[in-house]
Structure formats: structure tokens, C-alpha cells
Amino acid sequence: MKGPDVISFEGVAVKFGDFTAIPDLNLEINEGEFFTLLGPSGSGKTTALRTLAGFNIPAAGTVNLNGRDITRELPEKRGIGMVFQNYALYPTMNVFENIAFGLRVKKVKDPEVATKVDAAADRVGLTRDQLTKSVAALSGGQQQRVAIARALVLEPDILLLDEPLSNLDAKLRIRLRHQLKDLQNSLGITTVYVTHDQDEALTMSDRIAVFNLGRIEQVGTPRDIYDASATDFVSGFIGDRSIINPGLLARLDVPATIDPTRPAVIRADKPLLIVGTDETRGLPGVVTSLRYYGRHTEYEVRMFDSDVRLLHKEDGRTHAEVGDAVQVLIDPRFLRQYAEAPKLEDES
């Protein structure tokens, strides 16, 4: 969604004592975007978020919000809503009071408080009688909703979320993912979301910034990140890929951008498995292992000097077993190559 940028980091550096967490951050986030900061632990994404919130003061650079320089402003003055990883709900208050806390701080009158809290609760899917419960009595998913309602009830300009789904079980995570995204869509509020989970990032974001060791490796839409990974780190962090070694490369019609003497990578969803004894369309290989997922199977096929991973949709008609000779069609347009030598995640 294109629009004026509402959040910007310019030359921001964050240090903790001698340790430089973020050396030089430049980032622009547009109005109404669902923007995700993605990266492994220690990559600086939470630091960046907390700098935006005001809990870290940068050693250099500026942070702007709606054209205002907020670099040194106190968190309580920034008008930002935030949902914390462990929700940070107040155990001595019930759900209603938790949500109402920010309004009470602003000295909003009781009737208005009630209206706003009810509205916020509705929006996140909390029922009226849940409002009187003690927060300890709620399930994880419900607690998360309370945390979101609490942040939203103040109608902040932007919403920050620090890995809000990481403490939930898988099914709940997926369900809430959808709900969060729907909520953000309907509100249109600029949202900055921190996660290490690539599925979350891909399904929910308008744009993603991939962090590694305090630096941004790439900013782009989910498709950009996935299919047009700018660096080897991004390529390896997101999605499955195979390393195509020179032996196999020689048999492919590689584009000019690929140096056939060095390994290249290709996403696992790109190679096509062709099963059938008289097939000659692709290149030959032998199935060395498979993992059956129900609606698709991950095969690993040994082709010349490379182990090629591929995802094969189970259409009910073709499949292969370990040891089978198969044909694999690789479209060289999807090959990617980077300055660094690629490594598979399981090897590190």
C-alpha cells in the first residue's frame, strides 16, 4: 500500500555499553502498512522495535513518527500502542480494568471508558462476561486478545507487536494470525510486527525487513523476499532451498547472471517431479529420501553432484518411493546465486 511514510529510522545506531546491537539502521514504514521485522534471535529486530517504542535511546540517528522527531521522547509521550511477548497483563486487575488502564491514566470519564472498553473487547472477540474475569483465569489466546484490546483502546497512531504469538500452540497461532491480520485490515492502523517465524511474516505482511546481526539484509514484499532474495542470508532464512552444484549446473541452460563454476540455489517448490518410465523431459535422478506431509511430499533427489529438494503436490496420481529413478525438471530462470557460498540450515 503506497502512502506517505509515517515511521522512519535514519542512521539509527543502538549500543548497550560496548556492544553495538544496531550499527546503522535506515528504514521507512508507510501509513497503514502491516510491516514485519523478521530475523533470528539476536538479529536486532526487537531492539529496533523497542527503539521505536522509546525503551532504547539511540546513540546516533533519528527516529521520526508522522514527521515528528521522537528520538529522545519518553515512551509515555509517543502515543504508540504495544503488545508485549508475555502480554504484561496486570494480575491484580480484572480484564475490564486491564483494558481500561490507559483510559484511566488519561482521566477519561467512566461512561466513556465503558463504551470504549466494550468496543475494544468486541473488536478482538472478547465476550462481555469475560470482562469481569481475573486475567489469570483466561486461556493464552484470550489473554493475548486482552493485551491487544488494551493497546487498541487508546486509538494509537501505530501499533507495535513483539512476537505476540510465540507463546501459543500451533493451531491457535495460525487462527490468531488470521484474526490479527483481519483486524489490522479493518482498522487500517500502521502496524510493526516482530517475529522469527517466516510463515507469520509471509502470510501477514505487506512488507518485510529481514534482520541479521543488527543490519537489514532486505526490505520488500513477501514475494520479493521469497523469490527475489537479495542475499544468501535471506535466501537461506526463508523457505527451503537446494544447492545446485556445478556438475548439475553444467547440464542446465543457465542464464548469464549465473556463474556455472560456483554453486547456486533454487527454491524447493520450483523443481518439478516427473514420474514415469518413459519420461525424458527433465534430468534424471534417484530419490534418496522423502517426507510425506499429506497434501504434499518433500523429496530429496540425487542428481549428478547435487541433492535436489523438491515439493510435490499429492494430486493422487503420481508419487515416487525411495530408490526410484525419476526425472526432475528444473527451470534455470529460478536459479539464484550470491557472493557467499550457500549453506543448508541443517548443516550449521
Binding site: F16, F19, A21, G39, S41, G42, G44, K45, T46, T47, R50, A53, G54, I57, R72, L74, P75, E76, K77, R78, G79, I80, G81, M82, F84, Q85, N86, Y87, A88, L89, Y90, P91, T92, M93, N94, E97, F101, G102, V105, K106, D129, T132, K133, S134, V135, A136, A137, L138, S139, G140, Q143, R150, A151, L154, E163, N167, L168, V194, H196, G214
Partner: protein, 597 residues
Amino acid sequence: MKKTALMFRSPFVIVLWVFLAWFIVTFLIVPNVGLLVESFQPKPGRNAFQKLLASDRAMQSLFNSVLLAFLLSVTVNLVGVFIALVTQYFKVAGSRILWLGYATTFLYGGVVLVTAYKSVYGKGGVFEALFGGLGYSGEWFGGLVAIAFVMTFACTTNHLLFVSAAINKVDQQVLESATMMGASEWTILRRLVLPQIKPALFATTILTFLTGLGALSAPQVIGGNFQTISPMILAFSNTQTSRDLAALLALFLGAVTVVMLAIMNRLESSGTYYSLTRVATPLAKRRIANPVGNAVVHIVAWLLFVIYAIPVVVVVLFSFLNGTDAARGTLGLHSITLDNYIRVLSGADALRPFLVSVAYAAATALIVILIVGITARFLQKFRNVVTVTTEYLLHIPWVLPGTMIALGLLLTFNTPNPLIGGVVLTGTVFILLVAYVIGKIPFTLRMMKSAYAGVNVSMEESAQIMGASTFTVFRRILFPAVLPVAAAITALNFNGLLDDYDTAVFLAHPSFQPLGLVIAAQTSSEVNLDAQANVFVYTVLLMLITGATMWLVYGRLLKDPTKESGRRGAPKGRAKADTTAGPAEPAAPKTVAEVVK
């Protein structure tokens, strides 16, 4: 931005620190420095240091105090850990009753407790009367053995509080997994549980060490040949000319205390917490499979119960017995009487000392928790020159004995003093209050610091980001979170002040004399055979008050921290995700690595 500047962003903090600066200078520094300077004024031909070194008795006393401190550190830990395990960890029959027995140490202490033990085990005591025929003699009850015996059982209060709470926080599943792998109970205890409660154990050990070092009541009453430092300090501070000796000895104790303090701070910065609250799902108690082991544990547990309970029973019993008969050893059924109570409680002003003591204790406890409750938060959160200095200065009352502090206050505020607006404090009710307040600051400070350290930092941050000022965050989020601990400490402080003598004797106002003075008058009475009985009556009445306090706080407040809000809600279910920040949940400190994600 430098850390110090960060802290003083809030006007609330600035006001607080101005108050603290005034308070510390006026009541902690000026009186004590003044006293020390006066005590150490050089006199021709007199070298306090040499005198002490030359005195065998003084050197022996110092040695004895240190010896006692080390000895107690071991014995109190043994008994303390055992009773904590027996009431929290193992399945032991009648554990609730056991707990009540072990908790009797909450009810009384000091001279009153020692006297009670003496009347049971000592010469001419109950045991001798009952079992003399079987060969029991009270001869053994004196010297180091008696002191160690009594103090070992009297000082387990902290274990019952803090070590119990730490045991309860052990992860149930850790223990289950070990059991599945075939580990014995002993192995689990030694290799999984004890390491996890080590921080609480360290902290409690230090407190025990300091208590042993400064022991006063037990050595005075039953010490016999085994002399320790505090009685000597007391004797010397009461003279005009030997105060430098008292000061020197006190400074020795103070130096040891400061070292312990530094160690405690080191421990806490690595994540040690005093914790008093329970988690929502308490540990399931473990059965001791080995039948012999089970029997032994039960026997020892109940034996300990008897040891704890007997003095209390004796005190209560003897409060109803005729004192003359008791002194003469001519007890019989005819001796049962209510006379003692009537004697103590009749008379126009019989209740006055109680009211005075309760009022002083309550006022002190509330003032201390107010000052310290707020200050501790900032001392815990910010570590800079200002906070570290403030913290060490606030521990001055631990460095000097109560008598010296009282003396310092007395001499300093005898005349109109500009520091307090040109008013004289001596001879008013307030000087004793000041002494009590400053005496309780160090302990309260340590406890509250730990309590705050256990509060999840994101609770504060979430409130901040919603626009709450520092003061509002404190008032509405932080303080309620540490309220259980604050209440517990308030109760402990309150109880501990009720029978104070050493400070009151110096500073009490003639019209408002607290209980300790009245009790002391009884014990110093030389002819009155009813005196001992009177002391028992006072002890029983004291125990009623302290018992009521403990029940109020521990029985109601701490039973279920999730009921804190006082708002009616649906019946509690079990929280699925364990990520709600409960009060005083010890969270690992946010290390840099953790935050940089």
C-alpha cells in the same frame, strides 16, 4: 544519556531523593558521626585498640561471636531446610500441624524466648522437675551448647518463609522427569532441588550469620562462660568513658556486616530473590518410597515439632500457675490460678503499655514500608553512583548497634536542631519513632529490592507506553505487584518491635512507655516471686498480638495472590499459557543478549 540523568527525568524521583538526602543526613549520618567522633576523641595515654587487643576477654568474645555465627549458619540451615522440606516438599503426615509448630518462632523472640527455653531445659526447669528422677539434669543447658541449641530453633523463621517459597517454585516436571529416569529421592533433592533453591539459601544464610554475630539475648541469659560481643558493647556504651571501646567493637561487627552486604548485593544482581508468594499451581508433595527413610523423616519432623512447641506450651501453662509455687518447686493442682492475668491486666493503666507498643510498632511499620517501598524500586532498577551510595548509607543501622544509634539520636536532638526545623526531639514521642524507623530500614530494603526484582519489567513498560507517569506506574502497577511481600515485611517489623527494650530505655517518653520496659522491670525485679509469672503472662499476651498479625497477613493476604484485586470474578480456572506475570515471579534479569533479538 547517562543513567543518573535518566532516573531523574521524573519530578517524582527528584522529590523523593531530596527527602532521602535530608533523612539520611539528619538521622543517619549526623547523629552517628557525632557520636563516633566524640567516642574516638583522643585521650592522653589511652589507646582503645590496644586495650581491646590486650584484653583476653574481649578477644575471646570477638572470636566467640564469629564462631557462633559460623556454627549457626550450619545448624540453622540444617534444621531450616529440613523443616521447609518437610512442610512443602515431602508428603508427611500432619504437615499443617507441623507448620504451625515450626511457625511459633514468628510469635516470640529475644529474651522472652530464651527465658522460655531456659525454664524448660535449664536447671530447675520443667524437664528437671519431670525427668529428674530419670537422670535428667539441667547442667548441660549453658554456654555455647545452650546458645546454639536455642538459637538454632529460634532463627528458622527466614527458612520457613523464603526457602519454602523457593522450594515451591521448583518446576514439577523437572522432578517428574528425574523420577522416570530412576533417580532416588535423595539424588533428586541433592542434584535438582537444592541447586535451584541455592540463592534463597545463600541469602538466608547471610541473615543467619549476621544474627549469630550480633547475638545479645541468648548469651546474656544462658551464655555462662561463653561470652559474645554484643553484651560487652552494651555495657561499654552505657558508660561515659568507655564508649570508644564500644564503638570500636561495634565497628568490627559493622565491617563484617558491610562485607556480607556486598556479598548479598553480588548474589542479587545474579538473580537471587527473596520470594514470599506461591505460584498458582503448588508443587505436588513427594512420597518417600524407602520405608526406613520415611519413618526417620517422620520421627525427626515430629521430634522437632515437640522441641519448637514445648517452650510455648510451658509459657502458656505457667502463666496460669502460681509464681511462688513455681519458684519454690511446690507445684500442684492447687497452683492453677488466674491471678497472674488479673494482676497484670487490672489496674487503671494495665493496657497502656500494650497500646503504646502497638501504636509505635504500627506507626513504624507503616512509615518504613512507605519510605522503603518506594525507594527500593529505584535502587533496584537503576544502578548508578546516586543509588549505590544511597543504598549503602541506608544500611548504617545495621552497622551500629541499636544502643549506639539511640544514644546518637539522644545527644544530637537534645537541643534545637536546624536540621529538623529548630525543634527538640528528646523528650517527645517522636524520637523513639525515629529510632525504630531507621532500625527497620535495612531489612525492609533488602526484602523490597528483591520483591521488585521479581516483577516483570514489561508490566512497567506496557503501562509507560500507555502514557502513565512514573508515579502512576508505581502506584497502580508496581506497588500492587509487590504488595504481598510488603505486607509480610510489615507484619514482621510490627511483631519485632512490640517487646523492644534496648532502644526504648533510652528514648521512651515517660508518659508513653512501651511493653519492653514493663517486661524488663519485671525481670529485673529482685524479690518478686511473681515476676517470672508476670513475664509469662506478658509473653502470652504478646503472642496473641503477634499471632493475630501473622494470621491477618499470612492467613488471608498471602493465601492466594490472585485474589488480590478484591473484585469478584468467575471461579479461577487454570491458566494455559504460563506467561502471565504473577506477583513476584522471579524473572531472569533482562540481559543484553535477551533483549537484542
